[in-house]
Amino acid sequence: MSDPRLLVIPKRLMGVKHIIPVMSSKGGVGKTLISTVLSLISADNGYRTGLLDLDFTNPSTHIVLGIEPDKLEIIEEKGVIPPTVYGVKYMSIALYSGDNPLPLRGEAVSEAFREILAITRWGDLDYLFIDTPPGISDEHLELLTYLGDRIEALLVATPSPLSIKSVERLIELLVEGKYRINGLIENMSDTRKLVSVSKKYNIRYLGNIPYYH
């Protein structure tokens, strides 16, 4: 371990009871909407809640929240205290980059991951929801490799063949690495087609969310 930030990251998350990355290799299945809405519901129910946007090259939780990310006041106190938005402690690279394009090669993604997690002071939280990008690349690997024993992955898929294949590839990766999986949400679906996928991999089926027009 040659990066000083890697030692401090687990400490910064010591006060967080549940770290819930919302994942699916496929894009457009509802990760951003679900992670954001879950954080709002969680805070509404009185849980101390955080939301971290890890989709560095295409951050969008701030759009769902309807806020201008670079206008929030960020308090510095031995690090960065995430601003509170609708009761949720919120951190996104867009607090700094705004809505400018942010093309990052993988190495820069790792750097940004480590920097943000090393300086953010979440304090005590019941739930930290994490929005993740599509694909399986640096953002996901940093999370699995350096916080793998802390996370409880929440998987999202739609009933389309493209989405099912993608989530199966992700499940295989998580299972073989013995990472914890919280459960699977079937989004934009009136059916419960993914019950069979849940059963195949022995994962909790958390229900289906219909497509809202």
Binding site: P4, R5, L7, V8, K11, F56, D70, I74, E76, E77, K78, G79, V80, I93, Y96, S97, G98, N100, P101, L102, P103, L104, R105, A108, V109, E111, A112, E115, I116, A118, I119, R121
Partner: protein
Amino acid sequence: MVHEWALAEALLDYVENYAKQKGINHVKRLVVKLGVLQSIDKEILSFSLNQLLSLRDIVIDKIDLIDEPVVLKCRRCGYEWSPKMDDVDESIREAIHFVPETVYSFFKCPRCGSRDFEIVKGRGVEIDSIELGEEK
């Protein structure tokens, strides 16, 4: 810009861990490179390091904070340049101060407009060397 404290913690965690693995709690000299891109406040970082050290089970005789100039190199056209951070807009400097990778939002190659450039050096806080003292 007082988030330097968080970075100081990371540095000392690392140094302490490194020394202890060798059974030592005394460091003669720690050299930290400060990439100029991140505009780290040397006084605040120094202050943070010293405050933190007084609470820890490790002694560091001397800490050197050394500026490392920024060099960026465009992958598309090969152009190399060194932005003057003092001339950069305050709000942009601040963003890069917290997350140096936001540089990819704000800078582009002055020759070809590409944002696919390499930070050859001068990104941010990095440990350059740790000179250990005697065994404890």
